[in-house]
Symmetry: C2
Subunit: 135 residues, 2 copies
DNA sequence: TGCTATTTGATAATGATTATCATTATCTTT
DNA sequence: AAAGATAATGATAATCATTATCAAATAGCA
């Protein structure tokens, strides 16, 4: 599955070493990344990529459907695209991001949106508080 | 109720004309405001307040519990504090923000957080899509 | 290999927000 | 009403995340 993601790319999207590095990093775990974190992590691997390129690359990869973006707090985060839909719990103390999925919540969201005559394109649900470790 | 909100202020918080203007504007309707919108609206009323003061005032009023803040998209919005808890549906086309409340969703959120050993401090639920008018 | 169009990196620019600082003003006491 | 202490303002500089610019580099195709 991961291999397929690497090989398939939209028409005219070039696979540069920089894009490959970002994609590999993001697909290497379930973690959520912001641009800064990606830059730092790649630098640690002796892969120095300009910050402007990081932002551009993330934007291009997202548009191409190769990675997923989610806004948590006031910042954009990125994660691998092959995860099923989920929402987030964010620890206010340590910043840890946990994922969750609850079918009933999904369903009720659709119900209430329909009741408002609203055509859903997506949703963002973030529960913030303290994780188990920080309590 | 509104009158009480105006009169009661935390110790050492001074009630300047600027703060009064912002508070009055926000409490004048159920609308959601960002800093820029507030600045523009007040200017229209010939109340010219520096943008730095708008930001400061919003921050102070929020901390004092006199207004409520909510992050929608990547920007902070402010609204009157006397509304019951609610979440938001945001139209991607026109920007309109509708409010909703669904007790079952609230309950299920508590359930799943508990299951994760997570101590909830709050949550943010934004459904984005197209409102009735924009479809 | 050559060519074309895309992409990069460094840096400037942008926009939302916050910090700074001299000046102003609120609020309490006298 | 005046004085005094301290909070608040406005204008502008600074900060930060992000985007735009542009010359140089490079991916990918013929």
């Amino acid at each position: 599955m991961i291999i397929i993601i690497f090989i398939i790319r939209p028409m005219s999207l070039r696979m540069t070493p920089q894009r490959h590095a970002v994609l590999t990093l993001i697909n290497g775990s379930a973690r959520h990344w912001d641009a800064e974190a990606i830059s730092r992590a790649l630098q640690k691997n002796d892969q120095r990529i300009g910050i402007a390129t990081i932002y551009r690359t993330l934007s291009v990869l997202e548009e191409a459907g190769l990675i997923a973006a989610v806004v948590i707090g006031q910042r954009k985060h990125y994660e691998r695209i092959d995860k099923p839909h989920h929402d987030h719990m964010v620890c206010e103390a340590c910043g840890r991001i946990e994922e969750f999925f609850h079918q009933d919540i999904e369903t009720l969201q659709h119900d209430i949106a329909k009741r408002h005559g609203f055509c859903i394109q997506g949703h963002s649900l973030v529960i913030f508080g303290l994780c188990r470790q920080c309590q």
